[in-house]
Amino acid sequence: MKRAAFILAANPLTLVGVMLVMLVVMAAALADVIAPFPAHRGAVVDFLNFNKPPGGDYLMGTDVVGRDLFSRILYAYRISLLMAVVVLAIAVPIGVTLGLMAGYLGGRWEYGLMRVTDVFLSIPPLVLALSILGVLKPTLLNGMIAITAMWWPWYTRLVYNITRGEKAEGYVLAAEVTGASRAHVMFREILPNCLPAIVTKMTLDAGFVILIASSLSFLGLGVQAPTPDLGSMVAEGARYLPDQWWLSVFPGLAILVAVFGFNLIGDGLRDILGGDR
């Protein structure tokens, strides 16, 4: 713990990352309180005040139907964070379990699981998510399903590689010799040694999920109006360049801040926890 604190102090950037992420989380959590126009995340139109540039009552200006951009960005953060949490909460356990099985059980398990993983991995992530979302109705839930479907293979491969290496280590043999079940070996012996790599990747992935989710909604497959979503806001705003530039610049910056924060933390974790393979 002391070592962690020491490294953190020597690494001011990681601290910045932590602060940024906390900023984002608080913005999302306290949106109801902070937002000057909390109703603007819903079915509100105010054509008298549309397309206002940043300033005055509207910190970041208003959009084409008169909604306050700043308030909407705060609520949009909720969607982004929710996505990251849910996707990782589902994809990681699945991926890790499959990776452990493939790496430890070997044989047909290994062959079958890794081939399936390869199939999923050989489609660029965005393409796979797009195809799935193209079939389903674009809602928040379906978006999460689509992104989860393409996410688990990365963890499978990561854990598989580590497990393969650890399989021959002494502590594993010791456990096997004393009659530990296969599940015990996988989850109580090998898994803890994978945790540093998994946690690092998860932190980095939180940002990455937000990236992918915003890319999907940028292409038109995100949540439907009037729910605010960073990617769709940028896409919408891009139509009105350069005159109403604030419509796409501020949501874009919002994405940048969130992902940058997660990346900084992830980098710091990598330094502390001793790198991933």
Binding site: A43, V44, V64, P138, Q224, L241, D243
Partner: protein, 530 residues
């Protein structure tokens, strides 16, 4: 070190290239854009881009009169009407782009082809029983049933070169194969003022002026026209500002139009033949109850909707609607009867409705390619929420919309569509929307099934004189207002932003307007200056 050298020389080269790359703009080229796809085969054409192509690459027997109702001869020199028989005399000095002379055979072939393929606007020829070539320059068309607006429908029946098409039949069932669809979707076989030099339905169609055209061509008409598909609004805006583009499509958001005007662009306009309709699915609860529909119609914020389309103080994309029939057509209410929001009346109607609003979620769709519709959707969401309705806004690409409306179960509760009279005549506007036999197309997601409406529509198309038609459509107007299958958002005024190097009198001078959507884009009547 190496890298520095590399970077240095690379940037020097790049700079040199950039300075050298200044493409010369070809003289007298007109550049405009529309939503893809551009369908070149006239028998398959139905959308706006298709119309632009059709009106310039092909000719029809008649053209709408400019600045007044009625029709004037074009490929035909005149015609005689005898009951259900129409006899047309054709010009003898017209040749196709291929060089073949235009004869009655081609006219007959074009009609038969359109009917056989049964797509696009072929329904216009549904009442045609037979067409025969009496001699090389006379055609007799016999109708199976009286159809008063028949002459009007001919503006949508372009004449194709029979010889060329027959020489290029593709594979298909029967001896006519595919009737030359594959060929005509990629090549032109018309008589028009412009012939197609290259055609990519997703990207661009290039047309060149036909030097041997028989009709009127303005001095200074563009020698080349480039119609591009699927340009983003930001792109169009920048290109017009830089002089790389001449006429925008009508789908540019109002802000972008305003920005262009601020930089000196002019506005071209086309109006009078259509409206913006908010179509209610009369077969889906709670909208199968007329009182709920009347409530929605009264709750719609008509004024704000028009304000959304406003570009300048004089120019807006919409003009107040007065009823089911656009102002200027048979049976329309006077301009003093503009529709307005009346929330009290809405509540009163709602009280009579058998359903409770909060029990139902209304699915409200907007066409993905028409960005402004999202704003109307959001406006409606707010207005209808005051009545207690929940709405779910859905963005649907055009292609998928036309597919969804083919059954009442998959049709959204509320859809937004811009509809125009394909021939300028009210029959082609109202019949496809409200007759019980034409339900389930993009024009008719209402699935209306009302005997009185059917009868009035029939009367409108068979009444032999104008007074009769006026009476029929006035009755129709009243009936539709009572049934409220549609919310009549506003009468539509199509606005295009254009650079000042283009002069298009048919789109700026009401005395020269065609009264038919798209025909104002007859490039031969435009002038392009440097």
């Amino acid at each position: 070190m190496m890298t520095r050298l590399l970077m240095g020389s690379a940037s020097a080269a790049a700079l040199a290239l950039m300075l050298a790359a200044a493409p010369a703009v070809a003289q007298n080229v007109l550049r405009l854009d529309e939503v893809p796809v551009g369908e070149l085969d006239p028998a398959l054409a139905s959308d706006y881009a298709d119309s632009l192509l059709m009106f310039n690459v092909y000719d029809t027997l008649v053209l709408p009169a400019q600045g007044s109702p009625g029709h004037v001869p074009h490929l035909a020199t005149g015609w005689e009407i005898d009951g259900a028989t129409f006899t047309f005399t054709l010009r003898d000095d017209v040749t196709f782009h291929s060089g073949n002379p235009m004869t009655a055979e081609d006219v007959v072939f074009s009609i038969e082809r359109m009917k056989a393929l049964g797509m696009g606007l072929s329904f216009l020829l549904a009442s045609v029983d037979s067409a025969e070539a009496v001699d090389t320059h006379t055609v007799r068309i016999t109708l199976s049933a009286p159809y008063t607006p028949f002459i009007a429908s001919l503006v949508r029946v372009p004449i194709v070169d029979k010889t060329t098409v027959m020489a290029n039949l593709g594979t298909g069932e029967g001896e006519m194969g595919d009737w030359g669809q594959a060929y005509l979707s990629a090549n032109s076989a018309g008589t028009g003022a412009y012939s197609v030099t290259s055609h990519n339905p997703q990207e661009e169609t290039v047309m060149t002026l036909n030097a041997a055209y028989f009709g009127e061509v303005a001095e200074g008409a563009p020698s080349e026209v480039r119609l591009r598909y699927g340009l983003e609004p930001a792109t169009v805006r920048a290109m017009v500002a830089r002089g790389e583009h001449d006429i925008s499509s009508q789908w540019l958001p109002p802000e972008v139009m305003v920005a262009l005007a601020g930089e000196g662009a002019q506005f071209l306009q086309e109006s009078g033949t259509g409206a913006f309709y908010i179509k209610l699915n009369t077969q889906k609860a709670p909208l199968d109850d007329v009182n709920c529909r009347l409530a929605l119609a009264a709750a719609f914020d008509y004024q704000t909707a028009i304000a959304i389309t406003k570009i300048t103080d004089d120019v807006a994309g919409g003009v107040p609607a007065t009823g089911a029939v656009p102002v200027g057509m048979f049976g329309a209410n006077g301009p003093d009867m503009a529709m307005a929001q009346d929330l009290e009346a809405a509540q009163a109607h709602l009280a009579n409705c058998a359903y409770t609003p909060s029990d139902h979620t209304l699915e409200l769709s907007w066409i993905a390619e028409v960005a402004i519709e999202e704003r109307f959707a959001l406006l409606m969401q707010q207005s209808f929420a005051t009545l207690g309705f929940n709405t779910e806004i859905v963005r649907v690409p055009w292609v998928l919309f036309t597919e969804r409306v083919t059954s009442p179960e998959t049709t959204p509760h509320i859809s937004q569509v811009f509809v125009t009279a394909t021939t300028g005549d009210p029959d082609t506007l109202l019949y496809p929307m409200y007759h019980s036999s034409t339900a389930g197309t993009w024009q008719s997601p209402e699935y209306l099934n009302d005997l009185e409406v059917d009868a009035l529509l029939e009367a409108g198309r068979t009444a032999p004189d104008e007074a009769g038609r006026e009476a029929a459509y006035a009755g129709l107007n009243a009936r539709l207002m009572a049934l409220a299958p549609t919310i009549y958002g506003f009468d539509r005024n199509s606005v295009f932003a254009a650079s000042t190097r283009v002069s298009a009198p048919a789109l700026t001078d009401p005395a020269q307007a065609f009264g038919l959507d798209g025909m104002g884009f007859s490039f031969r009547l435009m002038t392009v200056t440097e």
